[in-house]
């Protein structure tokens, strides 16, 4: 194929490969995300250590919560002038914010389908009256003891907001640190931007939304409790089984089957005597390999000649000797290649003469040539993430270099003829020269400087 076309094809292939990789990444991400599900936690999920955490965090958070409350009061004023929906947000912000701390009280939020709230730790209010709720919440933070501030601030109703948007904001908010006021404001801002469905719908919506496959997992609140998805053990078992089976398959595949060889031998005996010994379908691929080898040798030879020309003759014996050895080696390799393909070529020509008259040429799909006896992908054992990354990086790098080398060879061949023709004009030659230099000598990365010295 021509040069430009080849580069085009290469770009297309790269793109296809890249889209394949991004698709793969997306799949992996989804799998990783689905490995854990959020869970509505009742008290039995509390761990003993959380109490210590509470004590530690409390003094710090008290301050922050007070600050937050003030901010929220302000926001509420603003919101009171806007639509009813937005009033839920400060509560939601509260909640999200507070969830940062792993306070056990935070985790208790089950939104039942009937929209009932747990009355235990906070004043239950109807969803429709946000203002009084908020006030109560604010009041609650003052009146109740510190351990209860957070639960008071938790508004189940505001869980609703999570719905379509909540999922967006929740993961983000989970990374927000408590101590940064900036983030608090961010949350507030975010929540004001949340568009909500009707408040009445929200609890049920939240139930639905948060639910994944089972009924018992979802919580509309951003509980920090994550449990592994119930599918995990099954998935792990299947994956381990797959690894095991694959290794077995590889073992089995490498064992020879004498009955099979006997059968093929017997069949072969019924073929015509002059029939090609190797399947002709392999030939085109092998030809490609040979052609590439020949091109490599040829270019090596030319560069050797070039190197010789440019070095000072007669003074560096080592270079002379090296050249000689190189040439000898190249000659030997060429002779080997010639001998190697000679026999196959004869076979092929005989075959081709016949087959072109009554058969259509056929090519193998995919890489099916069994050069070393196996087409099955081997198992690659690696020890660390860094090793795997390095390996795949190297693999791509080798492929890239190979492609660059082939293109370089092709460019040298085709563009070398440029100079045999008389140049049309000085100017255009200079531009062309610059372009050629950059392509051929610098891989397109750098450009030479051309100084036009016109009188």
């Amino acid at each position: 194929m021509s040069l430009l076309h080849a580069v085009d094809e290469a770009v297309k292939m790269c793109r296809a490969e890249e889209s394949r990789l991004t698709e793969n990444v997306r799949q992996c991400k989804e799998i990783l995300n689905s490995m854990r599900t959020r869970v509505t936690e009742t008290s039995h999920l509390e761990n003993p250590s959380s109490t210590d955490i509470i004590d530690d965090i409390l003094p710090q958070e008290k301050q922050e919560i007070e600050m937050l409350e003030q901010v929220l009061k302000k926001a509420l004023k603003i919101r009171n002038t806007s639509e009813a929906q937005k009033e839920l947000h400060p509560d939601g912000a509260h909640k999200k914010h507070c969830n940062k701390s792993k306070h056990k009280a935070l985790v208790n939020y089950t939104v039942k389908e009937e929209g009932k709230r747990k009355p235990e730790k906070y004043v239950s209010t109807s969803e429709t009256s946000k203002k009084p709720n908020h006030r109560r919440a604010a009041g609650g933070s003052v009146t109740h003891g510190a351990p209860w501030t957070r639960p008071v601030l938790l508004r189940k109703s505001s869980t609703a907001h999570t719905m379509s948007r909540g999922r967006l904001t929740v993961p983000k908010s989970s990374s927000v640190k408590i101590s940064s006021t900036e983030s608090q404001q961010k949350i507030c801002v975010k929540t004001t931007n949340i568009k909500e469905s009707s408040e009445d719908d929200s609890p049920s919506v939240s139930c639905q939304e948060a639910s994944t496959s089972g009924k018992d997992e979802k919580s509309t609140t951003e509980s920090e409790q994550w449990i592994p998805s119930p599918l995990m053990p099954v998935w792990r078992a299947q994956r381990t089984k797959q690894n095991r089976l694959w290794r077995k398959v590889l073992d089995q595949q490498s064992k020879p089957v004498p009955e099979r060889s006997r059968f093929t031998e017997r069949l072969r005996a019924t073929f015509p005597s002059e029939w090609p010994s190797r399947p002709p379908a392999n030939f085109p691929t092998e030809m490609d390999v040979f052609s590439q080898h020949c091109l490599d040798l040829r270019h090596c030879f030319h560069t050797e000649l070039q190197a010789l020309k440019s070095s000072d003759k007669g003074t560096k014996h080592e270079i002379q000797y090296e050249s000689l050895r190189m040439l000898e080696g190249l000659e030997k390799m060429t002779a080997e290649l010639l001998a190697h393909i000679d026999h196959q070529k004869k076979d092929w020509e005989r075959w081709d003469k016949w087959s072109s008259r009554c058969l259509c040429p056929v090519r193998r799909r995919g890489e099916w040539v069994d050069r070393d006896g196996s087409v099955l992908p081997p198992v690659l054992s690696y020890t660390s993430e860094e090793e795997l990354r390095e390996l795949e990086r190297q693999k791509l790098r080798v492929e890239q270099l190979q492609q660059a080398l082939h293109l370089q060879q092709a460019m040298s061949d085709s563009l070398a003829g440029f100079w045999d023709c008389p140049p049309g004009g000085e100017r255009s030659s200079a531009v062309a020269l610059r372009g050629l230099y950059s392509l051929l000598a610098e891989g397109g990365i750098q450009f030479p400087l051309l100084v036009l010295d016109s009188e």
Binding site: N33, Q238, H317, E331, C360, V362
Partner: protein
């Protein structure tokens, strides 16, 4: 005894059919059909024919624009089947010497069965289909890259000639090439970064297979709580499907020897029935031309071109080598004493040259990762002694299809070095050449870029 034997045969064939259906080959005939084909029954012909056709279509494709092999016409199908069978090395009489048959009923089911046997026995069709399945179903596997065919720069991109127009055209072509090449480089960069990301996530998924800790999903922005659990579901389904196929494969492998014994018996019955038919005379001379395909000369051209190139190269090499040898001899003979190369120097040079040539040879072989691979995190404490992966010979590292990452990395680095060396040599020679050209041009001074 006969009963158990026939039951066994049925079992064996059923395991093959199960494997084939797992590999997505459609409408597989029953084991009974196979057995009827052994006895050359007519009613098995259609089924066997369609199976053979389907399998061949999975393995081969027509390389010409003749007729679409998916057509239902028997003629087209026959041409495809014969071509494909011949190309994979099958030389039975009905394939080599076409009888003027245009009806499927005239086919012999036993012939078809034997052809099927050949297809499965020679080459690695089943393995190939299995590998395809693995890449399809296992998200963590790394598929092989399809190599680009050799690029012939000798198709003259730049026609020689004179005139302003031609120069302009050349300029345009060079510019177009520069542009495309730049695009390619950019594409590679984004490909490399996509690969980095993929490795990262692959590793995460792999490590969660064995780890007991549940990892936090980083804020990857996945906000579809409903959907994410189904991703695991889907993967589970895929892996379960793959496991079934692998089990079917292992089952088949268990029964394989028996299958080939049975195929032997099929051959026996075929030979006894057709004792007077001798192998076809091939290549047939003076045959009437039945159907010529005008598209088959791509390989022919490549062969001719390669021939020419190699012979010319050989001649040039020989001439230059002799010249060089006499030159070296003369210069050595002239300056006596100190300027002669010492033995040590000679050896060093020879070693260097051998290294270069070895590199050339290496770049011609396919990389160890060319088949793709299935990554697997190694246990930090293996329960059994590890295999000898760290041996010096790279061949041993591929014991039974198992690779060690460190070995592979070593080989890849070697390759990279060789390719880099080749590329640099080519570029250097181009630099010299172009600078020389520039010096012949009047009024132009070329200053090469500074090496960074």
């Amino acid at each position: 005894m006969q009963r158990t034997k026939s039951v066994k045969v049925k079992e064996v064939i059923t395991s093959l059919c199960k494997l084939l259906s797992g590999l997505n080959v459609e409408s597989i005939p029953t084991a009974e059909t196979f057995r009827r084909a052994k006895f050359n029954r007519k009613d098995a012909v259609v089924d066997m024919w369609s199976l053979l056709n389907r399998l061949l279509q999975r393995a081969f494709a027509l390389d010409c624009a003749c007729r679409d092999s998916k057509h239902q016409e028997f003629d087209t199908q026959l041409l495809f089947v014969r071509s494909a069978l011949c190309y994979c090395g099958y030389g039975a009489p009905w394939v080599v010497e076409p009888r003027p048959t245009s009806h499927i009923e005239e086919m012999e089911s036993r012939d078809l069965l034997l052809a099927l046997g050949w297809l499965l026995a020679s080459g690695n069709l089943l393995d190939f289909l299995l590998a395809e399945k693995v890449y399809q179903l296992d998200t963590l596997s790394s598929a092989p890259t399809i190599p680009q065919g050799p690029i012939s720069g000798l198709d003259d991109l730049m026609a020689c000639g004179s005139g302003e127009e031609l120069t302009v055209k050349k300029d345009q072509e060079i510019q177009a090439l520069q542009w495309q090449y730049g695009k390619l480089r950019l594409q590679w960069k984004s490909l490399l970064s996509a690969q980095e990301e993929r490795s990262k996530f692959t590793h995460r998924v792999i490590s969660s297979i064995s780890s007991s800790a549940v990892r936090h999903p980083h804020a990857t922005g996945s906000h579809q709580t409903n959907m994410t659990s189904t991703a695991l579901d889907k993967d589970l389904e895929r892996i379960q499907a793959l496991n079934e196929i692998l089990e079917a494969y292992l089952d088949w492998k268990l029964h394989e020897p028996l299958f080939w014994c049975w195929m032997d018996s099929v051959m026996d019955s075929s030979l006894t029935d057709a004792s007077e038919v001798k192998p076809a005379v091939w290549p047939p001379g003076g045959q009437t031309v039945t159907a010529t395909c005008p598209h088959g000369d791509k390989t022919r051209r490549a062969v001719r071109q390669l021939d020419k190139m190699l012979l010319r190269l050989q001649t040039e090499l020989r001439a230059r080598r002799i010249e060089q040898a006499t030159l070296a001899l003369a210069s050595q003979g002239g300056h006596q004493g100190a300027s002669r190369l010492s033995d040590r120097q000679r050896m060093e040079v020879e070693k260097t040259v051998a290294g270069y040539l070895e590199g050339l040879r290496l770049s011609n072989t396919s990389a160890i990762t060319s088949k793709g691979f299935v990554p697997c995190l190694q246990d930090p404490q293996p329960t059994k002694p590890p295999r000898r992966f760290h041996s010096a010979e790279p061949g041993l590292a591929v014991t039974a299809g198992k690779l060690q990452a460190s070995t592979v990395l070593g080989e890849l680095r070697e390759r990279e070095a060789v390719l880099q060396w080749q590329l640099e040599r080519l570029r250097q020679s181009m630099r010299v050449e172009l600078q020389r050209q520039a010096s012949t041009m009047e009024g132009v001074i070329l200053i090469p870029p500074i090496k960074r």
